[in-house]
């Protein structure tokens, strides 16, 4: 099927948000169970412990080959071949992402165990978009454009309004956990997952299924270690409690359900991270709030949660918030400039070195050496034409080997998915 390429990015990010909304609903039910309600530490460990088992099994199933291609490649990520060991080049990124995910999940579990309305929980974490914009300006040397800042602020404010609690209660402890634990760790986690997705393993693009699998494994190890240290110093038994709860058949099934569903949300999220910046991805993920509302109503009707406001004033505020989220997302979607640059190089210059110089330019998404009229066809992506000139054209002109080039802006494109 050939569809508009930018749709693929938005379809991936928004489908991931939809699944994440379902997961949050399930999580708030699981987190409210007696074994986890007052022990978020045990809940976090159980999530990863069962998550590692379930993710391993799903990855194994997705590795089944049919007509020369794996199931995972057909269904989720074309880059996936089969389950594999973590590579040396990925190790440091996996360690950081695993540690951040472990800390993030402990914070998340602490909130889920104490607050039952999922759309309330989600509100606090949306400020992460701003964290990401700031971090990307530093780590990716990529100063955000005015449009990116505007859209992010609109989405963030919209997200806060859409998920504000009617009771007006602000739990200082919950807010502190969100601003000091959940947001920074999620921002670093997202940036490192993106770095992993952009890596090439055995000269092929890295796949989101193995990235997710290894992230759960490392997160499980780090959560276990953090709990062990915490238990030793506090004379607690959270690790044992988490392990004991995990092997209880009822809890095992609940945790398997939540982590099995989470797997698909994350695989799509990681795939989307390979196509767009972490801040833009997280702005799109704010749509989770919109999807969480029907899930919350469903859980309320089923009697699985007891707190969800249907007050008219609150609903109006939520609708204003949702409108802002949609506006922000549309604004992101409509402000991407893509172009092809056709390049001819001077004779007698090594093409591989020139290729690397072109690849090192920020905003370049494809570099190909071609035979025919042009030596290189480069595909670029930028937020504005001005940024395209400042960041791409000026750099190309600095490459001595280039004889001639011409820029052709993409007006519309389709891609086979």
């Amino acid at each position: 099927m050939i569809i508009r390429k930018k749709y693929l990015f938005y379809v991936l990010a928004i489908t991931s948000s939809f699944i994440a909304a379902a997961v949050t609903g399930i999580d708030s039910y699981v987190g409210g169970q007696p074994a986890f309600k007052y022990d978020p530490w045990a809940f976090a460990f159980s999530l990863f412990f069962i998550g590692a088992i379930v993710t391993f099994l799903i990855t194994l199933i997705l590795s089944i080959q049919r007509r020369g291609r794996s199931l995972g490649s057909k269904l989720l990520d074309p880059s996936f071949k089969q389950i594999r060991l973590v590579q040396k080049s990925e190790l440091k990124y996996n360690l950081v992402a695993g540690l951040m995910n472990a800390i993030n999940t402990i914070g998340y579990a602490a909130i889920v165990s104490t607050v039952q309305d999922p759309s309330v929980i989600l509100s606090f974490s949306q400020v992460v978009i701003i964290y990401l914009l700031l971090m990307e300006s530093i780590t990716e040397k990529d100063v955000p454009t005015l449009v990116e800042v505007q859209s992010s602020v609109i989405v963030t404010f919209g997200a806060i309004l859409a998920s504000i609690s009617l009771t007006g209660q602000i739990h200082v402890m919950s807010l502190a956990i969100v601003f000091l634990v959940i947001n920074p760790t999620w921002a670093i986690f997202s940036i490192y997952q993106r770095k992993l997705k952009l890596m090439r393993i055995h000269n092929k693009p890295n796949d989101s299924i193995n990235i997710r699998f290894w992230n759960v494994v490392f997160s499980c190890v780090f959560t276990g270690l953090i709990l062990l240290v915490f238990d030793i110093f506090t004379n607690g038994s959270h690790l044992i409690a988490g392990f004991t709860a995990s092997i209880d058949p009822f809890y095992f099934l609940l945790l398997a359900l939540t982590m099995g569903t989470t797997f698909f949300a994350y695989v799509l999220y990681i795939r989307a991270l390979g196509m767009g910046k972490a801040s833009v991805n997280n702005a799109l993920r704010a749509s989770t709030i919109i999807f969480a509302i029907p899930f919350s109503i469903l859980l309320l009707k089923l009697g699985l949660i007891s707190q969800f406001s249907t007050d008219p004033v609150m609903l109006i505020i939520k609708i204003i918030g949702i409108t802002l989220i949609v506006l922000g997302i549309v604004s992101f979607a409509l402000t991407v400039v893509k172009a092809y640059i056709f390049i001819t190089v001077k004779t007698g210059r090594p093409l591989r070195e020139t290729m690397q110089k072109l690849w090192d330019i920020r905003g370049v998404s494809h570099v190909t050496i071609t035979s025919g009229r042009y030596d290189f066809i480069v595909k670029v992506s930028t937020r504005t034409l001005m940024k395209g000139y400042e960041r791409i054209i000026k750099k190309i002109e600095e490459i001595d080997e280039i004889k001639k080039y011409h820029w052709e802006s993409v007006l519309k494109d389709w891609e086979n998915i």
Binding site: L198, P205, T368, I377
Partner: protein
């Protein structure tokens, strides 16, 4: 697997119908409408040169397609 860019110059006013027909051709991975010397860039992914010939043949049969320039990809680095 062989990948190639096919750069197409179109006759004015024929883009929409031509794109519709191009989307039906197998072995085409990407289609972009561009502004400049060329009007459309098509990326083909084929098993051999015979199949590439089939793709260019089919493209040239589409009404409105003026000239095609094929650039075979020898090496590639990409985000995806």
């Amino acid at each position: 697997m062989i990948s190639a860019y096919i750069l197409i110059t179109m006759q004015p006013g024929k883009n929409d119908k031509a794109i519709k027909e191009m989307r039906e051709i197998s072995n085409i991975a990407k289609i972009s409408i561009i502004a400049g010397e060329y009007d459309i860039v098509v990326r083909a992914q084929v098993k051999n040169l015979e199949e590439l010939l089939d793709v260019t043949d089919k493209l040239q049969m589409i009404e409105g397609v003026g000239k095609t320039t094929t650039q075979i990809i020898e090496k590639e680095i990409s985000l995806q």
